[in-house]
Symmetry: C3
Subunit: 251 residues, 3 copies
């Protein structure tokens, strides 16, 4: 028997929505400690690290560890039918080799998703020496990315003692966003050494799209290093982290 | 002179929207008692029965019976321009062989719709021995149909002593909705004999799409019989009824 | 140094949105008195006259007159990223030959738009003897145009002592809007001589689309003359005027 019940659908729905825009298949590892999933996008540019500890669940009954291979596009379609406030239960039907997703609101709705074989090759665990970090309101980053998309394909992120900057330049123009130390959208700013790196805009839009505009995103940055984005998905210690490789700037 | 004035556009607008998604042409019969329309969809799977009694109108001036052939897609486009709260008048222009639809709100807007010849062959009047019925909140059925659509083409409806159930199964998964006796979405449940039958999802989505999610739909069901859906469209005794033939389950 | 700062983005955003749907390129003339722009659409049917006086700006620093050639589609895309309430600054970067558009809200966002060569051939200054005018609530005209669009390509406007009328007729039906003297949607009506003329619906939809439904549009009409539409865009005397040539009715 494997059952995991969350008080609502919000975390799972928004996390899967962001993850499914980057990654096609994933292996969810259910252990007595919680649910974990790590995966890489098909072009090996983006890494996702998703985790909900047992303590975040309202009920959590996983006696022995098991791995569930899932087609994320299918799971996302099903989560698209959930209301954020529905009670949400994951249940394993071992006989039929299916995962049940149960939404309890005005009625009880149950979807069954066939489990699939997923390649579980080891993922890289990059050790990165970030030199600056900031907590930024999601809406500001989302605005900056949509601005940047008008102008080009890549956007430069920069953290300095002055603040947080995004910059895109192309033949058709330029877009720039400035958030200065003290601005309400910039909650924290720690700069050991100023950092800047350039990233593909479309990936960042996919990663950040599930956040509501008032959520907070934690950014870790190092010059020409991957960017690490952490979303606060659960008070009780859940984790949704994306790593995205930089584009090296042509000088 | 033929004039019929409703206090607002809501009933006509929502009814025509649902009907026009199933049926292309219709013959509206205007008599001193009211307006009636019965029609069958082109593939002879669905039947609609629409009626507004003279008493539901604010003004109703139909001296002798007349039948108006209407292209429902055209009428629906025009009703799409109405605001729900506009006063609504139907007026026959016998000289030009046109039906006027008049919306009175901030301004007075009048559309003229050419009348057409409509085949008025006799429609079947099926005598059906339903064995169970229930009043269900429209939003629950609409949710269940959209859920089912993710999974397959047909959905099984079931009424038992326990409650109301929808179920769809295919190679790509399964979807199920349960509304139990006592749940607020299930207003009444009368089961003489448990009933179940399977129906095409797209037809049911078209039939129920005009209902607002808090409306109530009355379901009549018999095992492998057509389903009958009644919408409460007018306090004063209006009727919007759909009948849909079952799909016989492959065993 | 050329800088012009408006307290918010609303006027510029909505005006450019309407203008860009008709006209591809425009020459904005910046003088110490304010910003002016006149242009004609590619098929020479519509004329736009846009003006914001220096006094409407929060800061206005234009020492010597200059003309800025702009691709309106590009400017409109950028304005689409502005929030109506963002503080808005136009700034000329003479070195790079670019115009900066700066939105200040939760963050400071700056777009740079390349300046282009624009043909500044003299525009016609038609002297028109309008014989009737009316101030009409924009929502009524917008409704009437969408109604008319269902039926045909051209709509007749009429101003008489009785009120304001729109009328479209085609083989597929007719649509008519009546606003009578005294109706709340008709704010003023002055008829020296009744006037009627017919216009292309699509042009009028483009011209009026930026107005919010509660805005007021001033109409000037003469029989078979162009129509003149004025939008109230700034308390401090801004001007957004469209002139549209009539279609001569086939009798």
């Amino acid at each position: 028997m494997v059952t995991a019940k969350l008080p609502d659908c919000k975390i799972w729905k928004t996390s899967i929505s962001a993850i499914a825009s980057l990654i096609e298949e994933a292996a969810f590892k259910l252990t007595p400690e919680g649910i974990k999933m790590k995966a890489m996008d098909p072009s090996h540019v983006a890494l996702v690290d998703f985790e909900i500890p047992a303590s975040a669940f309202k009920e959590y009954d996983v006696k022995r560890s098991t791995t569930l291979g899932v087609d994320l596009a299918e799971m996302n379609k099903i989560m698209g039918r959930a209301r954020a406030e529905d009670e949400f239960t994951l249940e394993l039907d071992e006989e039929k080799n299916r995962l049940s997703l149960i939404f309890k609101g005005a009625s009880t709705r149950k979807f069954s998703l066939p489990l699939i074989e997923v390649d579980e090759s080891e993922l890289p665990e990059p050790k990165l020496q970030f030199t600056a970090n900031a907590d930024v309101v999601a809406g500001v980053i989302q605005d900056g990315l949509k601005d940047a998309e008008l102008v080009g394909d890549n956007v430069k992120f920069e953290l300095t003692e002055e603040g947080f900057f995004m910059h895109t330049e192309s033949d058709t123009g330029a877009a720039e966003l400035r958030l200065q130390r003290g601005d309400p959208g910039l909650l924290t700013l720690n700069v050991q050494r100023p950092a800047r790196a350039m990233f593909n805009i479309k990936y960042l839009i996919d990663m950040t799209k599930a956040a509501s505009s008032t959520d907070v995103i934690s950014i870790q940055l190092g010059t020409d290093l991957p960017i690490q984005l952490d979303f606060k998905i659960a008070e009780a210690g859940g984790k949704l982290r994306f790593l995205l490789a930089p584009r090296i700037e042509a000088e």
